[in-house]
Amino acid sequence: MTTTTDPVIQLEVGSGGGLIGASTPRKEDQRLLTGHGQFTDDLHVRGMLHAAFVRSPHAHARILGIDASEARALPGVVAVVTGEDLAKLTSPMVVSQEGAHPMVMETLPTAKVRFNGDPVACVIAVDRYVAEDAAELVDVDYEMLEPVLEMHAATDPGSPLVDEGLPSNLHTRQTKSYGDIETAFANADRVIETSFSSQRLTHVPIEGRGVLAIWDKGRAELSFHSGQQTAHVTRTLLAKRLGLSENQVRVISPDIGGAFGLKIPLFREELTVAAMAMTLDRPIKWAEDRAENLMASNHARDDSVSIQAAVAADGTILGIKAELWADYGAYAFYPPSYMIDVVGWLLLGAYKIENYEYTINVAITNKCPAGTLRAPMAIVTWATEGTVERIADELGLDAVAVRRRNMIRLEDQPYRSAPGYLYEALTLRESFDEALDRFDLEQFRRSQASARGEGRLLGVGLATVLEPTTYGSAWYKASGDEGSGHEAATVKVEPTGAINVMVGIIPSGQGYETTIAQVVAEALGSTTDNVAVRLGDTHIVPYGMGSRGSRGAAAGNGVAYLAALTARNKVLRIASHRLGVPIDSLTIVDGSIFVIDEAESRLSLADVAWMCYMDPTSLPATEAPGLEVHQTYDPPELTFSNASHVCVVEVFRDTGQVEILDYHVVEDAGTLINPMIVDGQIRGGVVMGIGQALYEESIYDDAGNNVTSSFVDYLIPTADCVPNIRIHHVETPNPNTPRGIKGMSEGPVQGGIASVALAVSDALKGLGVTVDQLPLHPSRILGYLRAAGAQDD
């Protein structure tokens, strides 16, 4: 097998077969449309048992004892296990990072429960019905403790401790400073203050979490079938925590019914099921129900941002100070600074601001733990763009002009942001201008004014999105986080010419089986039908970092493309030798090798593949047998894409309802592999942003009970409440990635939140309302209007 880690010389090579950039229909669809997809809960093996979890009804309580005798006596129950049992079978998770005390998470808690829904025991039974019956019979003796429910109050010295192993509920507080912030504020004509708060919410993949764990006693191997975004990393963690060698664990991620960042950590329930499958030597399945998903998987987004902007009278932004808070809930699934810190270093957005200081504060509370939800920094665009709007308002300037005065142009790049990130080939200003070419703002202002005359409230929100998509290993090193950003692929041209590709990214709807087939077929001069893409099985696929962020295109498809180019080069070297013509006179089209300008092919890709396996003595002496390439690729420290969103809303004064009337996105994700799929990512992402802006919220009552445990209480957008979204692509290739691919899929969420919230703010302008808290559901809007005395004017 050829192995290389140096793709740089190959970046410019490629057959240009037109497959990259084509809206190829998806290879995945046939099975998914006909009911033949295979998701975790569809798996069934002989002798399989089912797990159900006993969960805490309290936000914060000491576990005094657990009596499972009645549950164990129920016919069909095989085992009931608690944290004490699992502590003997597994090791705990420890999350540590510079600047914070390590946080320990037991497999199941032994001393106390920390949120409503915290798992305290696991029942294994012959079917799910019996398992749930038995879970009801487990009697847990609790001593109630005062719950900690508000992140700012959580850090008061007198507050009860959520984690008694830590000195405080303030898990970390860190300040970073760039440029000369004191001088910037001293020289300012005005200092303008803003604040933005986002609600706690959750991921809501339509398929919840789940696992089928199978212990093969004969081989002493664990098979862990579970929709996992980062299957290899999960394998590493499973082996460590179960005391197995990593070559005893196989993680297989079947079809995933949506993930959105939820299906990254090794969850405690999943580890419990794996440990019990080994202990009982029986296959065990667990599929969470919706209540568990809404209450006890991961939450996200409980963030706030307070900004002070030092500005000149002409609207130039001289400096920014920001105070960021995040409520991470009861346990650390991620390092304390990981998610909220991204808000910090992205907050300057599309603007040239040299002097900057931000402080992050992470509190822990008695709520479901926080995780990474598609665009973990999602609040950031609203905060940046909302601040620019406020600056314009306060200075009596036009907000478009203030944006343009401060925006980074293509000609300013390469540009290094104050926190040190390199921007290249970004059309922040140019895409903003494009959006305003497509949306007639002046015409809208006239319509808005005349509607206001009739008592109607229309508003427009403009949001320019800077989206970090692909993190290289240099980013991880610099940030102090464990991990890498490289990715791995194996391309095998089999003896008959059929192509198998294995890549370490894992799909949950992004269409990788199609896009990877496109890039590999393009590089090898083949067809997408001839390429099978195999993902998610750690026994087959080389170790990769999986799907997180928006790395699928630049890292995952990028490495597959590079590996296929390496295979192409070998094919052409062999063909050149065989035909006695120079290598640069050859090309491959639809699997046939041509001497350029000749009408007839003299050799096929399959002929060369056959030689490689079945007749290797015919190869040039310098070529090894076989036609398999393994390749890794480490992308630049950080790759960005950008977009501009325009949203028009009407706010109904009597009901507080918000209706979206028009929505535009101008997106620059560099070279597009499959525009149809990119459009799907934009529309889905914007609608997730709309959900956050208008509908969704995980709510706790005063006692810390989660009161949003069903789809009746937790509202995600439905087909009748979202707009059509008009999309325009600008394609500015990134100079440092394969084929100029940038990737995208989180930016639309950032832009969706920002443009909807700013449109509502614009609609309410002049009524004395400050829109600073999401979601903007009818009762909040009515509350704003009542507080401003503007409901009946």
């Binding site: 997809g37 998701f39 019905y129 339509i206 398929e207 019914g257 709807g509 799907g680 889905g684």
Partner: protein, 166 residues
């Protein structure tokens, strides 16, 4: 509780089983009949992923007991395409318009759309949006699903499927 025998027709074929009275129709279809295309997304009757046709009506199989389906005729997602895998116009349109991403809600969307087009072969866009408002999708933003159903209506989806569906 005692198991009860049920007999029904599923996708045109006879099926029977011994089920506990509390067994959900969705579990019977998935676990006993091994038709796992019907997905369970909430068990609260809210997400629509488990939608099947019960005597022609689109129902939530997670809110229906298996015993209630005794004697009924059921169509699941596996019964929508042609016998050789030829896609129904609704399925084809969803593929053409990229009306699915992860595919988990898709079986419920397909079954709901088939029932919608049978009852209203030329629906307005608003009627489609309302008709699909009980099917939650977290991936697509719905626009491509709505456009797909419009496309299916335009090619006469309601008359091109077999009698059970359309």
């Amino acid at each position: 509780m005692k198991a009860r025998a049920i007999h029904l027709v599923v996708n045109g074929e006879q099926a029977s089983g011994e089920v506990m009275p509390r067994m959900l129709l969705s579990d019977f279809i998935r676990d006993d009949l091994a038709l796992t295309g019907t997905h369970v997304g909430c068990e609260q009757g809210a997400c629509g992923a488990c939608t099947v046709l019960l005597n022609g009506r689109a129902v939530r199989s997670c809110l229906t007991f298996a015993v209630q389906a005794d004697g009924a005729s059921i169509t699941t997602i596996e019964g929508i395409a042609g016998p050789d895998g030829e896609l129904h116009p609704v399925q084809q349109a969803l593929r053409d318009r990229h009306g699915l991403q992860c595919g988990f809600c898709t079986p419920g969307v397909v079954v709901t759309a088939c029932a919608l087009l049978r009852d209203d072969p030329q629906p307005t866009t608003q009627a489609i949006r309302e008709g699909l408002s009980g099917n939650l999708c977290r991936c697509t933003g719905y626009q491509s699903i709505i456009e797909a159903i419009e496309q299916a209506a335009a090619v006469g989806a309601s008359t091109s499927a077999d009698g059970t569906v359309a």
